[in-house]
Symmetry: none
Subunit: 293 residues, 2 copies
């Protein structure tokens, strides 16, 4: 996006003083904001003195901060339309070359993500989030290619609540934990064709015991979808040898966010505090580490 700045930075970051690095890192992480916020606001967000911003710009060879902003503004002017295809439209878009296949998969993923907005996905997401919010416990299940999706949802939820359980086989718990579940809980299950046998069976048993089920799957006809609960249907076609799990992953991510926003706001605030703390700690840590290489 901001070619010149990022390149300059990558080359000379190490030789910059600490606070300038801190400022530079913030800018690198929020390039959009450079042209949209005042320098002082950016300084505040980066946790740096206003003067440091000016000096950073000058240290990189700009006349001043205004010059830096001008560059980023120019990037912002030209960027917005930047739908990637046109830039690389010459590529064959086929499996002939590695780049071709990569581009095809990227393009396909883009289309699949766009599809997600259609239909009743938004409403279903809302309903699913509602179920999870009201549930006593949230059991999460996903095997094979769906494991990453399940794990991500579990990880995200576990940051804001202790009501989540991952039904993986590690450590001996496995599916057994489901026996404690009841109608006040909810089972989130992710699975795509070919459905893993154990997952299907567990889901059907849960269904028989009136546990509401949120099914993230690839078809309305999926065996995972239950009458009591919500079905979240995502596309899985892929130019790869595996089914595309990116849409499912994204939906799980959104689900976690929706649950988090409705959960105890204090929890979320604490989390943000932790995040900031970790971020601050990191910039502190990465210095000596980078230097010691």
């Amino acid at each position: 996006m901001t070619q010149s700045f990022t390149r300059l930075l990558a080359a000379r970051l190490d030789s910059l003083p600490a606070r300038m690095q801190q400022a530079a890192r913030w800018i690198a992480a929020n390039p959009h904001e450079v042209a949209l916020l005042s320098m002082r606001e950016q300084a505040r967000m980066a946790g740096v003195q206003p003067a440091t911003m000016t000096r950073l710009a000058q240290a990189l060879g700009y006349d001043g901060f205004e010059a830096l902003r001008a560059e980023h503004a120019a990037a912002l002017r030209h960027a917005p339309s930047g739908l990637a295809r046109q830039a690389d439209g010459r590529l064959p878009l086929c499996a002939e070359s590695a780049e071709g296949q990569a581009l095809e998969m990227l393009t396909q993923a883009q289309g699949q993500v766009a599809e997600l907005c259609a239909g009743d996905m938004l409403a279903s997401l809302g309903k699913a989030a509602e179920l999870m919010i009201r549930a006593r416990r949230v059991y999460i299940l996903g095997r094979r290619s769906s494991h990453a999706v399940a794990w991500h949802l579990y990880y995200a939820l576990s940051l804001v609540t202790e009501r989540a359980s991952l039904l993986d086989g590690i450590g001996g718990t496995g599916l057994d934990a489901l026996w404690h579940a009841g109608a006040e809980d909810v089972l989130f299950v992710c699975g795509v064709a070919p459905y893993t046998r154990a997952v299907v069976e567990a889901t059907l048993q849960a269904q028989a015991r009136d546990i509401p089920i949120i099914a993230l799957t690839d078809s309305r006809l999926s065996p995972l979808i239950a009458a009591r609960g919500v079905g979240l249907i995502v596309p899985t076609h892929s130019a790869s040898f595996l089914h595309a799990m990116t849409p499912a992953f994204l939906i799980a991510d959104i689900l976690a966010a929706l649950v988090a926003r409705a959960d105890d706001p204090g929890t979320l605030a604490r989390l943000e505090g932790l995040d900031r703390q970790l971020a601050a700690l990191n910039t502190y840590i990465s210095q000596p580490l980078e230097a010691s290489k």
Copy 2:
């Protein structure tokens, strides 16, 4: 793009005085510039007095020109996506409602996926795949929010090759396996800010031992990027409390596909056979199971 302003304008343009119309027309024609130029410059370009700009904003119900600029800045921030927005432009696109936040995250993800095609991503993907193909072993590392990405890559690779090792802490192996790695191997590491300390340290040690490193991370300045190897930069901004990992997930998925296609074609064929077999088995299974509910 600037929903509210354009809408207001369409409704009340005719009832505005001449110079205000002149100003409004210029803004309507150059909406990008509203947030990027100072009000006085815009006034000059529109051939209008500075005061007219302020009064136009107020006439439309804004507090002042700054409020108008804020709206356009927000639009610019979310700009790269835009496709999904038009489909559901009625929704507030803010964290007010659950649906609003879901839509915002979907929109954002769409833009981020589109961004991935830009720059040198395709070339870097090719290089990374090449490294992994030639490597004796592929070590895969990712903790916390990056774990799902690492796991997915490991799972996909393990379907087509036995050369992959996941460096997770489960079962006691942990990072120790890295000690067997050398310059003929490759380390795939995924991590976003705030970088997990153990991951950074392991990466730096690997770097010191000349192990090529494929770093899937969020910035060119990430401590995970090594001189020897490839950096894959993905956007991670999110409207959620967690960083967006969907782009990283997609890149890992593509990487696995690229490695698979170059690997022994026989393996792939076998895999497809297995897949079909499982699918056939499943449809057989799911029938009686669904009937038995």
